[in-house]
């Protein structure tokens, strides 16, 4: 058991290490000289200042460590990261770590609420759809799912916003994060994620209905509701795993919704920084997101292992195969 935990932990660290390498390489590959970006283009400086400009550029280069080898630059960066130093924003001059930490609660709150909404929608309608398979109820749910899954996120957001904020006046538009403002963006985000979960819950339930233990439970004279419970217990584990994993896409996918609803989360912060070409912020944002995703995957793996894995061992292969 502990060996398994250690292995998962080690794997997570290797993944994180590879991810930092990728981010580092991407940044070094980017066209444009960061020094020029900070000081402005030398052509714009007056000719007499050429010497002064070069001096300042060289100084900055040394300060940023850009004159050293790639490996040294990388280790220096990692060294700072370990001390939780994500660098400072070019634009505002504030520490990126602190800025992200200040905005993380807003995104976390939004994602958690959306997760709850889509889990409830997914489990409920998925089960109902499976129970009514082939009947009008099932067809209606599937139709709504396909339509919802085909609608761009911002359309859902804008439609809900114009209905609730503009037409009904039930929602106040501002850039504050608060519980009273949470429900509409959370609902939007939940609606976007729900179709996939509904589809998966339905498919899993139907697959379970065909299994012999369901026939066997029926043959023991158990009622329909009781037998559905049997199937649910087997069908739900992969769905719950899926819900947990969808947290990653919620956190990253919140960008659009945060932008539409002016929700002050990290997505919006990153987006604003991209338009300002604020490299350290982008770098810090990417790193935080990747670490969060790895953390979520690790947690799901560990919880999955804690539930007696042998019971589900035969089933895992099948669940993985579901499209």
């Amino acid at each position: 058991m502990y060996r398994m935990l250690l292995r998962k932990l080690l794997e997570a660290f290797i993944t994180l290490f590879c991810a930092t390498l990728i981010i580092f390489t991407l940044i070094r590959l980017a066209p444009g000289d960061p020094v020029q970006l900070l000081l402005g283009h030398p052509g714009e400086a007056a000719l007499s200042d050429k010497q002064a400009y070069d001096d300042r550029a060289a100084g900055l280069r040394a300060k940023l460590g850009l004159d050293q080898s790639m490996i040294k630059q990388y280790t220096a960066w990692i060294h700072k990261l370990v001390q939780l130093d994500l660098g400072t924003s070019i634009h505002t001059g504030r520490a990126v770590g602190a800025e992200i930490a200040a905005r993380l609660p807003a995104t976390a709150m939004l994602s958690a609420a959306a997760l709850l909404i889509q889990a409830v929608l997914g489990l409920f309608f998925g089960t109902v759809s499976a129970l009514k398979a082939g009947k009008p109820g099932d067809n209606a749910i599937r139709l709504v799912c396909v339509a919802l899954a085909s609608t761009p996120a911002f359309v859902i957001g804008l439609v809900l916003l114009s209905v609730f904020a503009v037409t009904l006046g039930a929602y106040e538009i501002s850039s504050e994060a608060g519980l009273s403002r949470l429900w509409l963006p959370a609902l939007t985000l939940g609606l976007i994620g729900a179709p996939q979960l509904i589809r998966m819950a339905r498919a899993n339930m139907l697959a379970e209905f065909g299994r012999i233990y369901v026939l066997s439970a029926l043959s023991r004279g158990l009622g329909r509701g009781r037998v559905v419970k049997h199937a649910l217990r087997n069908a739900l584990l992969p769905v719950i795993t899926m819900i947990a994993l969808s947290l990653t896409s919620l956190i990253s996918g919140a960008v659009v919704i945060e932008s539409i609803f002016s929700w002050p989360g990290i997505g919006k912060y990153a987006l604003d920084s991209i338009l300002l070409k604020d490299y350290p912020v982008i770098q810090g944002y990417a790193l935080v997101m990747v670490s969060l995703v790895i953390l979520i995957h690790l947690c799901v793996d560990v919880v999955y292992a804690l539930i007696d894995p042998r019971i589900h061992r035969n089933r895992e292969a099948g669940a993985e195969e579901h499209v």
């Binding site: 082939g134 299994r211 012999i212 233990y213 026939l215 066997s216 439970a217 029926l218 043959s219 023991r220 004279g221 158990l222 009622g223 329909r224 009781r226 049997h230 217990r233 087997n234 007696d308 042998r310 019971i311 589900h312 035969n314 089933r315």
Partner: protein, 566 residues
Amino acid sequence: MFAARYFGEDTFIMVKKELETMLQITNLQVAYRQGRQSVRVLDNLSLELRQGEILALLGESGSGKSTIAKAVTGLLPPSAHIGGGTLHIGSTLRVDMDMAAGKGRGKGRGKGRGKGKGIQWEGIRGRGIAMLFQDAQQALNPVMKIGAHFRESLLYHRLASPDEVKPISIRLLSQLGFLDGERILECYPFQLSGGMCQRVCLALALCLKPAVLIADEPTSALDTVSQKEVLDLLKITQKELGLAVLLITHDIAVANAVSDRVIVLNKGVIEEEGDTRAVFSKPRAAYTRQLLSSRSQIAKPSRERESSHAGEPLLEIIGLEKTFDGKKRVLHDVNLALNRKEILGILGGSGCGKSTLARCITGLEYPERGHVMYRGADISRLRGKGKRGLCKHIQMVFQDARASLNPGRTAMQLVQEPLQYMHIGNKGERETLARFYLHEVGITGDLLSRRPPQLSTGQCQRIAIARALVLRPEVLICDEAVSALDMSVQAQILALLQRLHKQFGFSILMISHDIRVLRSFCHHIAVMNHGSFSEVKRASALLHESKQSYTQLLLRCAGDMEEGLY
């Protein structure tokens, strides 16, 4: 009427009272939708099951025997359509099977499992009719402990208070041969073997005190020893409780071992019905005679056949060891020699490692230790080209013939496949060779251009044999090659293999769990148990000479079940 036949006129009145009818099926009609057509499986079938008897329903695949079990419990799949029929359970309950049959038909598609939506199946299943399934391990919910299954059944049907559940279940389990019922209740299904699961399922069925028990191929997935064990327990508990049991099986030996009466079913029609002893000793219907003769063809003790000459063995296995996942030891110090033109049988229960041995010989697995010598050279660790060259010498036929053939290719294409891989001959020569071998196995005419989905399982196995022989191998490994086939097809395939063996003179390594098949077919039999061979004996002498308790046990189990069948 039947009672009169068994016991004579004078006992008729008394016996009739005792042998109350527990389950009566009248004029049952079931059809399956296949695409746009509907295929009729049961046509006006009627049968009667009396108290305290085991009625065997004997039939080959496609005879509709399982459909009967599903129809009377309302568990038919949505594609099935019940045309009509009546069901009497006990003396009071009457069910019209076509009650709601018209409802779905109007829309042209099935509605709900097993039709008859108007029927209150919950009241019938469990208390009225209990059921055993073929794969017992799959019949238990994988995420529930055994104890939870009992608790749920007993409490749901209000047969016990929460405190009584545990003692009742433990008592039932001990009746079914579990001495440590307490531990079993805490187990998950995957922790128990197939035989144990089937006994648990039987206990679960009995805890509801059903009027009728339907057992659908309850022992087909088990090895000989557990099969015997489960059947014995079934028989004992049935006698104790005076239960009416409908035993559905394809195996004459199973029907012979436990049943009082037997019904022979062929393509949805009852061919013969009567006392088990009478039917099997003096069959009246031609179909029953045919079934019995294919069985005796398979099971008759082998004539004294000696492999032609000894000398250097063709294939020799020395000290072979194989483990899986670094822990589970599958093969342990396996030694075996196969002579030229010899037919050697490998006998063993499920999980004894016999299939792994076959995979090691053909290079599908690499052993950890030991050697597989073919004509004096070690072939167990060949890789790449060398390993591929091996297929000209050693070939294999698999249990699931259909799955071993690519469904998209015709018989002709399939047999040419190995020739293409080995770059043998040109297109014309390959076709001639393929046609020749297919002719030898009895695939001719328009069958040559058919694909596996359009062929029967027996025909698929014939093609697989032709495909294995087209490279003229010296050794043919048959891994349970006939186990999945109906008895009559089994006899045909075995006869075919025997003829081909005589004609082409290759050696055969026949792997099977079925002692009957091996005894009639092989020169020698090697008995495998827990990953190694306990003994190798001449087939004809196995019964008398065997010293090993395991072999004796296997032989006894098989022998008991066949008593009086010759």
